[in-house]
Symmetry: C2
């Protein structure tokens, strides 16, 4: 059902962008607003928003459904002249906002037909609304991370003598499902030893050996909301004092960045706190990515926690804090939690311990 509070947020954002009408085509945005998943594939799907009228959903007959969703359904077929139809709805004397990913095959005919006085990329109106989670979204984000915490305990128990990364990872999905998650939020990363110094390593046939780091970066989906957490363990022994030092630096960067989270600070300042600690520790060049990303219906929602992002944190933001040091000689370590910005400061959604743990 059309979520009027979320719609209001989007109209507010559109007003700030100086646009009164928008054609939303991203299936994720349409789900966010209507609670209905529609997967049009190569076909057109559009939710036309105009503060003066009721929303209109342009829907191919192939995806027809009976349920009322609070938007007027406008049926289309593979032979509908889409532009002629849209012209009957769009105010051609005003600018029209569209989604950033709207495909040229739909957009070019809109320009050719001069469907509006101008066409603007107004994805930000939806992205900014989605960055402010409401109570229902927060509840599902919390539960998704609660499942992730419980799952991590079971993933840790899969790590034993002679196992390969692939064999370990192959057990994760059923663990998630047994805990109530519907699926992965992204393909899990399991990296042993030197592999953990590659931030995006995919599980392969590497066999676990004593002294390995064991990096597990995983997340699941609960009620359409994503979790995402990383822990790095050691197998049997910590291979060197330097490895221990690297772990503690990352641990400290993660903790310090989380501790400072509150409304009204720049996202860049959070990145800086973590980065400064790693740089002062002498591993600046080995922290090769931004500190974090926003998360919600998608594992990577719009928005990041990076040196370049001067936007201010707001109540309802949820993002990852995931510093890492990727040094093949010493160790590859990343520690990641999800954080929610609250009135009082913040809430860390992951509770799984972060102290250095040795798997025996």
């Amino acid at each position: 059902m059309l979520n009027t509070e979320r719609l209001k947020k989007v109209y507010g954002q559109l007003e700030e962008l100086g646009v009164r009408q928008m054609l939303v085509s991203d299936p994720v945005a349409i789900f966010y607003l209507t609670g209905k998943w529609l997967h049009p594939g190569e076909r057109f799907l559009g939710l036309y928003l105009n503060a003066d009228t009721q929303p209109q959903l342009f829907l191919n007959d192939l995806f027809r459904f009976d349920e009322e969703i609070g938007a007027v359904k406008v049926p289309i077929t593979d032979t509908t002249d889409l532009i002629t139809l849209l012209k009957a709805y769009v105010d051609h004397s005003a600018p029209l906002g569209v989604d950033k990913e709207l495909a040229a095959k739909f957009l070019i005919p809109m320009y050719d037909a001069q469907i509006a006085s101008g066409i603007r990329n107004t994805s930000l109106a939806i992205d900014n609304a989605r960055a402010l989670k409401d109570a229902q979204e927060i509840e599902w984000m919390r539960e998704s991370s609660r499942i992730n915490d419980r799952a991590m305990e079971q993933f840790r128990a899969c790590i034993r003598e002679g196992i390969t990364e692939k064999e370990a990872a192959s057990q994760f999905l059923s663990i998630y499902q047994s805990l109530g998650a519907s699926k992965y939020s992204f393909s899990p990363i399991v990296a042993f030893g030197a592999n953990s110094a590659d931030p995006h390593h995919g599980p392969d046939d590497t066999v676990l050996k004593e002294g390995d780091t064991v990096l597990i970066d995983v997340g699941c989906v609960y009620h359409d909301y994503c979790s995402d957490m990383t822990r790095t363990f050691f197998y049997k022994t910590v291979p060197s004092e330097e490895a221990r030092r690297v772990y503690e630096l990352v641990r400290n960067a993660n903790q310090s960045a989380e501790d400072m989270c509150r409304p009204g600070i720049t996202l860049a300042s959070i990145d800086k706190t973590a980065r400064d600690i790693i740089e002062e520790g002498g591993y600046g060049p080995d922290f090769t990515h931004r500190l974090g990303h926003f998360i919600g219906i998608q594992d990577h929602d719009f928005g990041d926690v990076s040196q370049a992002n001067m936007n201010l944190t707001q109540v309802g933001n949820t993002f990852s804090i995931e510093p890492g040091i990727y040094n093949a000689k010493a160790a590859g370590v990343r520690i990641e939690d999800l954080v929610l910005i609250t009135e009082d400061g913040h809430e860390v959604l992951n509770k799984y311990p972060k102290d250095l743990q040795i798997i025996e």
Copy 2:
């Protein structure tokens, strides 16, 4: 390396569309022309084609590579002003062709900057070129289907007492890889009994039982080229005379459609041959999809074998012929091969038998 023959085909197609310059952004099209896979994700990637100059590849530093590919590499970064850069290359006094999937976030700024005298969707220039396979492509398409034939024999051997669809499907990838394929061309369909009456059934926990149909729709990738084949078996017995009749109708529709394939006939006429046989047999309403789709680097290349497609077959076309009857009471049966159009007529790329087979 830039394939000059393929490039020539694309320029020829562009000329027919009345456009002399195109910005190709689809990674598959760029692979087709350069032999290089690039995965830009949300970032811009573009190959600028203009018959008067050498192709230019606009490439983010994140995906930089040293190899020479016969196009001038124009480095960009996340902070590059893309439009200013493109303006230095694009002839603003002539129309510019772009890919059908080019995203609004790139296209709108091009319109705003009046980068060209007009913007046109010229994806067809690439799609039409890709529909005419060259000798190298045909060799890989043949080998991909040869592997698929051999794999089908092993998949059949997986079907035994008490197995579920999921358990059967879970064995397929390693079989493909042992035969030299790199991966699936699409997620395999395994459907037992009534499930085979759902054309897109995903493998689930259904347990095989006597009298079931066993529908296997599978394909792999060899040297970046896809195979795709369906066979429908029966387990232990054919459950009814009607089921046998349904099988023979589909078999006959498949064979008759393949037999007629030659250059210069409409794709619609091939669909009609198969459809007429199934309609005359009384199961017209149970054949719910088009007869086939083009195939190559993608499992679904542009182009289909459908009632609406009045285009003529050409030498080098490769497409599927996959009639089906989806009748939950009688049986769900589909039989699919890939066909190559040749000077003399056609070549069926799949040799795996199509006679009714009972798995004991």
